[in-house]
């Protein structure tokens, strides 16, 4: 029972309260760049959710088995040497995570292309674009840093999955607002990027209302 409650709390907290885009301001480039139409925004959101869940799980495994002070690899080296030869490999986090995300995206792209051509066509160019989406790296780093998430594989998966859901939510709301904005009379100096950033700011303000509800 407590596991279910924990999972629900982590999910709600990541998707809505600590929304990656609107609270931490990561993943802003696709958030502004691909939010012109709801359909494409949904495609991007799905692709990000997919990759972020995979990357979150795999980077958790790598952290757990190779990078953390108590990990299997570091422990084995130290017991072989008989003393504390290596404290941890946490300084490798960034490079390893970027490496894994890029590799994952490649692999996922090949897999989807071979076995789900309709999905491949639907995702289009967004799939390779995710390689450089900072929201995914951010989620991986948070998972490695947060003691509650770092100790539990299921929690890590739930965190990354709902991080992607939160991204999808934010980008779809943004796309909906922007579709309506197309027919609005926007003052000339604010047209384009200006009004988009103001909209994003107001949305972030609205999401601040959830602060303090949980986690």
């Amino acid at each position: 029972m407590t596991l279910v409650v924990d999972i629900l709390l982590i999910g709600l907290s990541t998707a809505v309260i600590n929304n990656l885009v609107l609270t931490y301001f990561v993943g802003i480039c696709p958030f502004l760049g691909v939010s012109r139409r709801i359909s494409t925004a949904f495609g991007m959101g799905c692709a990000v959710t997919f990759v972020i869940t995979m990357a979150g799980g795999i980077t958790w495994l790598i952290s757990y088995f190779a990078l953390l002070p108590e990990s299997a690899l570091v422990g084995a080296i130290n017991s072989l040497a008989g003393k504390t030869l290596v404290r941890d490999l946490l300084f490798l986090q960034y490079i390893v995570f970027i490496f894994v995300i890029a590799g994952m995206v490649q692999l996922v792209e090949m897999y989807v292309r071979r076995f789900a051509p309709p999905l491949y066509r639907a995702l289009g160019v967004y799939l390779p674009l995710i390689t450089t989406n900072c929201a995914i790296l951010f989620a991986c780093l948070i998972i490695a840093k947060d003691p509650k998430l770092a100790g539990n594989f299921v929690f890590a998966l739930v965190y990354s999955f709902f991080g992607g859901i939160g991204f999808t939510l934010a980008i779809i709301i943004m796309a909906g607002v922007r579709e309506e904005l197309d027919s609005a009379d926007v003052p000339a100096p604010l047209k384009g990027a200006g009004i988009t950033l103001i909209t994003a700011g107001i949305m972030a303000l609205a999401f601040m209302g959830f602060k303090g509800m949980a986690g």
């Binding site: 080296i77 040497a81 030869l85 692999l107 090949m110 292309r113 289009g124 160019v125």
Partner: protein
Amino acid sequence: MTGTILLAVCVMLGLAGVFAVLLGWANVRWKVDVPLQLRQLQDALPGVNCGACGYVGCNEYAEAVFNGQAPPDKCPVGGAAVAQRVAEIMGVELAESYPLRPVVHCAAGYDARLKRAAYSGEQTCGSANLVAGVQGCTYGCLGLGDCVRACQFDAIHIVNGLAVVDYEKCVGCGACERVCPRHIISMVPFKAERMLVVACSNHDPGRAVRQVCTVGCTGCGACHRLNDLFNVTDNLAGVDYDRYDPNMDFGPVMEKCPRKSMIFVGKPSEKDLAAVAGEKLTEPVEADFRTSVDKTDFRG
């Protein structure tokens, strides 16, 4: 310390090895057979995924071309060279394309328009078009310069109340065509530097046209009788630009037109330039806003 460095190197090398094997295996195992033509198309396109062709990325456009759903000349980044290459790969003839340039289908300056009334409302064509009786002709140019404001290239100006395109500066973006509330600007394929156009948009019968304009087309059909390149529909002459040939002799038609509605527009020819080269141009006089007060114009 050395141990940490060595271990870090080993971990990275190990990961690189694992991913190299994994990706290499996946590349072979999950290979998708892409037709040679499609691969060539993908290589021929610039690959910047800008979306200017109307497709999400270069690959999608390549697929559309491959499936015959898109013409080969839709990539504005690659321009003519890429269009040529794409057409070559697909084995199709590249349709000869001409630059589209706007043509103002009205030739009536202020002195040619009849039944004009004083208009002191907001000085835009869009507003003036809503009011009846600004001028007799309900089709012609209003001369309040919506097109001038829409043009980002300073390529259209109001001369004696009539919009005149500066073809030296025009890039053919079509902004003036979209903004004109009376739709008298149309984009014409410029097969030559100078094109013959019908400079009138009035669909009213001849008698009604004569009452509001001294130069408007009455739909008499004289041009059609001389040359079937011209047609008259709804009391207005038109030119069939699909069959237009710049080398045709349009002299008789222009001579015969009783209203002189047939005019050449475009960049001036060398002969014209030579004819006016010796003439001394009068210095343009700029209005001095400190001394001259325009009482009639209310700029809202």
